[in-house]
């Protein structure tokens, strides 16, 4: 019955923008649906930063004094100082979670289904990244909603809006990093290594918990490492944006890092480079 269709008609050739949009929506829809099925993930993603905020920050409040550094115009409480770091932490964990889901998808064969779609692979991966970023944004705003009742809020309510682009960039950067890592991990079990070798170093060697000048006092070389850490710049970008200001250095570094990670991830999923086949063996 469909035999005759094998001849190409002009209308049959190529895809239009509408087809791309449907594919994009389909990928985002499926990710959100799956996220909805794993609601406990949302809770745990919320509990983690709240533990830091309620327990860690409360404890360190009296130990650590934070002097007036931009973007702050007065002395701030330690809780206020670490909030942007915690927002970035949520984005980081979320990005790593989606990379976990890609490894899982590959083991379960779902990834094959995605990759045999006729749309270009960069498009499929970018759509997946967009879905992951949307999830990460939802988590950050849920965290901010709880933090509001802890009296942590931007100087003006506009801060909630101005921080959005910064959160999107951070979400894309960590999502792309996770995607890149997912192409390098052979199996799900290796994911524990990501915690030790990626999440913890990125988080602790950054300006999330303490200002860089403080680190410099105790260890100049560690401060240097922190300066090189893209996580530091994501934190600073978010910190400034939350105060309706732009940190251009951070912006530049985050954009470049996000683009770099994404291009590397697309290259890693390119069949002609054979990364996947090398990972998967026979």
């Amino acid at each position: 019955m469909t035999h005759g269709n094998t001849t190409l008609s002009p209308a049959d050739a190529g895809y239009g923008l509408a087809n791309y949009a449907r594919c994009f929506n389909g990928i985002v829809w499926r990710e959100l649906l799956r996220y909805w099925h794993q609601r406990e993930r949302f809770v745990s993603a919320l509990v983690r930063p709240l533990v830091w905020l309620f327990i860690f920050a409360a404890g360190f409040r009296s130990v650590l004094g934070v002097s007036i550094i931009p973007p702050y115009e007065t002395y701030v409480l330690y809780e206020v100082y670490i909030t942007p770091g915690l927002m970035a932490m949520i984005a980081l964990f979320s990005g790593m979670q989606s990379s976990l889901s890609m490894v899982y998808d590959r083991e379960m064969g779902n990834m094959r289904l995605l990759l045999v779609s006729p749309f270009p692979r960069w498009f499929l991966l970018t759509a997946k990244l967009a879905a992951g970023t949307a999830v990460s944004l939802a988590q950050v705003y849920a965290f901010l909603a709880v933090a509001y009742f802890w009296e942590i809020e931007p100087p003006s309510p506009w801060g909630y809006l101005t921080v959005l682009p910064a959160l999107v960039l951070a979400g894309v950067m960590f999502g792309a990093l996770g995607m890149l890592l997912s192409s390098l991990i052979k199996q799900l079990e290796n994911f524990a290594g990501i915690m030790n070798f990626v999440i913890f170093p990125l988080f602790f060697a950054s300006s999330a918990l303490y200002p860089l000048w403080r680190i410099k006092e105790s260890s100049p070389w560690l401060a240097y490492v922190c300066e090189l850490n893209p996580f530091t710049h994501a934190v600073e970008l978010i910190r400034f944006a939350f105060h309706q200001r732009i940190n251009f250095t951070a912006l530049l570094i985050v954009v470049v890092a996000a683009a770099g990670f994404l291009l590397a991830a697309i290259a890693a999923y390119d069949p002609s480079r054979g990364m996947l086949s090398r990972r998967e063996g026979a």
């Binding site: 094998t6 190529g14 449907r22 094959r112 045999v116 026979a282």
Partner: protein, 264 residues
């Protein structure tokens, strides 16, 4: 906005439907030093049912990964209706349906949701997807299960959903990789019959990879793949006759016993 597509090169004839559904030419692939495929060539005609016979580790799955462009061939060329899958992957992939050996259903989603997701991956609108899904589920006898999570289906039903899904974008070439693995005799027969009908009635070119030799009927096309090399291509009965064997099973045993495969 539309994306221009290069016309496939004509091979003798200008009619697309006279091109092979699948043409594999001199394809080789190695994992490091181990050669998984060595100079493999064969074709699948539109509307034909071709069985790719090979033991586990013969290279069937690697070949499928190459046809679906999960990997790129290191040597040789693969064309789907004249479209080189590496030069114009989109054109090849949109004409191709695949049922992979590992299960690829999303177990937390319902049957219908799984189908809708696949439709979206092929740029099909939600409305159209629903219409097609209903029609196809009726054919595979799963209409009543459309709102159930795929987790609750039996192995045979899952396979039927996967076949339904692979047909949703109306491909003209369908690849199945060991689709009957782990199924009971009845489910195996059901799926085999259903797929044979697809070739006969809908003119879809079918490539059925299996290590179960009895799944090849005498008049099916057959490709015998052993240790990465093609030992025989043709109609199953023809291969048997040429090898001086009484049937394809005997031919398979004779041919594979006589070969010293490439070094593992």
């Amino acid at each position: 906005m539309s994306f221009l597509v290069p016309e496939p090169e004509a091979h003798g004839s200008g009619f697309a439907h006279q091109r092979p559904a699948l043409e594999v030419t001199c394809v080789s692939y190695s994992y490091g030093k181990r050669k998984a495929l060595d100079n493999v060539s064969f074709t699948v005609a539109p509307g034909s049912f071709t069985v790719l016979l090979g033991l586990n580790g013969a290279g069937k799955s690697t070949l499928y990964c190459l046809i679906t462009r999960l990997y790129a061939p290191q040597h040789g060329r693969i064309e789907i209706f004249g479209f080189d899958v590496n030069r114009v992957p989109g054109e090849g992939l949109r004409r191709l349906g695949v049922v992979f050996q590992p299960r690829t259903l999303d177990l937390d989603l319902t049957v219908l949701q799984n189908l809708s997701y696949h439709a979206a991956l092929h740029g099909i609108s939600a409305r159209e997807a629903k219409l097609r899904a209903r029609e196809i589920l009726k054919k595979v006898g799963l209409t009543l299960r459309q709102h159930d999570k795929t987790r609750s289906l039996s192995g045979g039903q899952m396979r039927r959903v996967e076949i339904a899904r692979a047909l949703l974008h109306r491909p003209q070439l369908l690849l199945l990789d060991e689709p009957t693995t782990g199924l009971d005799i009845k489910a195996r027969a059901d799926i085999l019959n259903h797929v044979r009908r697809l070739a006969a009635e809908e003119g879809i070119g079918l490539l059925w990879a299996t290590h179960l030799i009895d799944e090849a009927a005498p008049h099916d096309g057959a490709v015998i793949l052993h240790e990465g090399r093609v030992l025989a291509v043709g109609k199953a009965h023809g291969i048997a006759a040429e090898a001086g064997a009484k049937d394809i099973r005997a031919a398979f045993e004779t041919l594979t016993a006589a070969t010293n495969g490439p070094q593992q």
